[in-house]
Symmetry: C2
Subunit: 405 residues, 2 copies
């Protein structure tokens, strides 16, 4: 017997037939003798419609009222899933965020979970009832108002609930059947990973493998929640995201990720004075523009070229901020290029193996792909290339690291 | 300065433009120096969709889960209306049933309001904030679960809230601009009533003038809430539903109502024994079949013909119940006729005036309309006629009582 949190995303509960399918899956786990709690998202498309209404009424709407509106999506689903479960003989009851309660801070629209009261749910699970909990939503108890956790927040709800319920596993049902060595649409021979460490998953999630929301992986790592990613439409095991101690043979490279969501900015002939980086990045950070990769070439004449990447959506804002500071910063020209892609090689085995980066550079050079920027972390090497080379680069690296099945 | 509850139904908040229109109306009342609370229904069509999902998943669904699902309709509207108000500079905040709280019993799907905590809302109204309260929903506090008040329950929410807030008036905005002497679609010369008593409104509401939900009129009468019915699309005063003491000149007949929602049942040659009525109507009542008009003709041979009406939707159930009890009851035959209409003449002045019924019978006789059943109350005379005569009867009576404008 195990205690399992099963989380179903928007496409998995997109219509009544899919909701019946969800109920049937839950029933199987219950009949296998497990204690089960369910977390669900809004039916696909619902949240977008609700968000659009708020924005159409007022682009600068009150985030507290936005939360009241968008939290209804999950409320509909918990009721329907509970009814579908009861209809096939599974005892079930719906729980809204404020009923559990799932207590958050008061950052409406992107609240953080502070605590979840799990005792009553555990008691009911032990008696055989399935709690069906609304994902994405909580309550800030100072003012008793509904909060939401931000887009993709249902993954976070599921992981946080699994921690509160001391669950053996948190199963995230989605429209892909696991975590792959890379995007199977680019490399058809990409392999599904049986197990992957939190750290690797975090790097893969943040660089563009849109399987699990980044914050939910961070929370799973912090709380030691074992997460399984699997398909709600097929009946086979998925990928398990666990502590690296649970992974016997640590691969040097687990996966190749890519992201086209960044843009490159270069400041030419920036005076090379102490504190110049702070003066460039301070105003960007103050305006919530995240800077990712940074390189700086020191010139001979006391000036330098500085190149960095920002989120592509933030590029106009970043350009505006830097243009306004041009005189103060003293650079000669700013060149922006949104047509870039970040390609990353991720693996916990890198820590103990040399030569990972050079394999990467060699493989890309052989295909004639120019590397614009490089950045590395303990378990990741990322390069920036022209975005037209994305697929070619991913395929070359997948082969170079022996990941082709 | 007055304290006003403004209630807007589903068609009045049916899309974003209509929600903006609602906000503009509320703003006008606020700018006139009034304290305003708003009650809203779900956007038109929403509740039907939610109900259908529940029924499709399971015709015998858990009413507690049904309430979780359908209560979302009003939750969406309160958030959107609050945003629309804020967008035009009106301070506003949404309130769900559990937040107020609007405490109900635990009769899920048709709960009764037990109490409303009004102090916090009054405090905020006095500070200039407009509470936007979800109609139709409440909370049963023993289990902390969401309840709904049954279809049309938003009128009831508005009246109950007006009582709790000690409001001077409860304005019900709808798609008609007031209460008429009869249905203007049948009698184009029908007049809008400036004032009508609770008792008359109750008779009109329950016999088919679908302007205000019956329970909300009962509650308004009990709590002495002055209710105004008016159009959300036009800018003119509506009809005021008040205590009869507020009505100076009491009309003998205020209005003519009709209902096609009934069916007639006749039991032929029923043995005329003491207690026979109890044996006929006991089982019907036990199965929640409401019986309305009843007549009994006593025959010479110790048998009787008994005729009564039931809701048309209940007819098959009533026939089934009576057929099963045929032997015990001892009647010879049952004849059912769904093609009937109930025409009612309503007016508080009737109490002190004779001849109202005979005017009715004469007017109908002149048009050759046969009266099948008659029933009277203190302020109402109702007759049952073949349904094909409905319009003819309503027009004849409207003229006979001098109501034509």
């Amino acid at each position: 017997m195990a205690r399992i949190v099963m989380k179903f995303g928007g496409t998995s509960v997109g219509d009544l037939d899919r909701i019946r399918n969800v109920a049937a899956r839950v029933k199987r786990e219950v009949e296998a003798g497990n204690q089960v709690a369910v977390v669900v998202s809004a039916m696909a498309g619902t949240t977008n419609q609700l968000v659009k209404w708020c924005q159409d009424l007022s682009p600068l709407h009150d985030a507290r009222e936005y939360d009241v509106v968008v939290a209804t999506g999950e409320q509909v689903t918990i009721g329907l899933v509970a009814i579908a479960l009861q209809a096939i003989g599974v005892e079930a009851r719906s729980w809204q965020g404020w009923q559990v309660p799932i207590v958050t801070d008061n950052a409406h629209g992107k609240a953080r979970v502070e605590s979840i009261e799990g005792a009553e749910l555990i008691r009911r699970m032990e008696e055989g009832q399935v709690p069906v909990v609304a994902g994405f939503q909580g309550i800030e108890t100072a003012r008793n108002r509904v909060t939401t956790l931000g887009r993709g927040g249902s993954d976070l709800s599921a992981v946080a609930l699994a921690a509160a319920l001391k669950a053996d596993r948190c199963d995230i049902y989605t429209d892909v059947d696991g975590v792959y060595t890379t995007d199977p649409r680019i490399v058809p021979r990409a392999k599904k990973l049986e197990r992957i460490s939190y750290e690797e998953m975090l790097e893969l999630a943040s660089v563009g493998a849109k399987v699990l929301q980044t914050r939910s992986v961070e929370l799973a790592m912090k709380e030691g929640v074992r997460v399984q990613v699997l398909s709600s439409f097929e009946d086979k095991p998925g990928s398990l995201v666990v502590d690296e101690d649970e992974i016997m043979e640590k691969p040097i490279v687990s996966g190749i990720a890519y992201s086209r969501d960044e843009a490159k900015v270069t400041l030419r002939r920036l005076p090379d004075r102490p504190g110049v980086a702070a003066r460039v990045f301070g105003p960007l950070s103050a305006s919530n523009v995240n800077v990712d990769m940074i390189v700086q070439n020191i010139g001979a004449d006391g000036s330098t070229d500085m190149t960095f990447t920002v989120g592509r959506a933030d590029l106009p804002r970043a350009q505006d901020i830097l243009n306004k500071a041009k005189e103060e910063l003293g650079f000669e020209a700013m060149v922006a290029d949104p047509e870039v892609a970040k390609i990353s090689v991720v693996g916990i085995g890198m820590r103990t193996h040399a030569g990972v980066a050079s394999t990467m550079f060699k493989a890309l050079a052989e295909k004639g792909i120019n590397i614009q920027v490089i950045s590395t972390s303990e378990i990741k090497v990322s390069v920036l290339v022209a975005s037209e080379y994305t697929e070619l680069a991913v395929r070359a690296l997948h082969t170079a690291y022996g990941l082709d099945a």
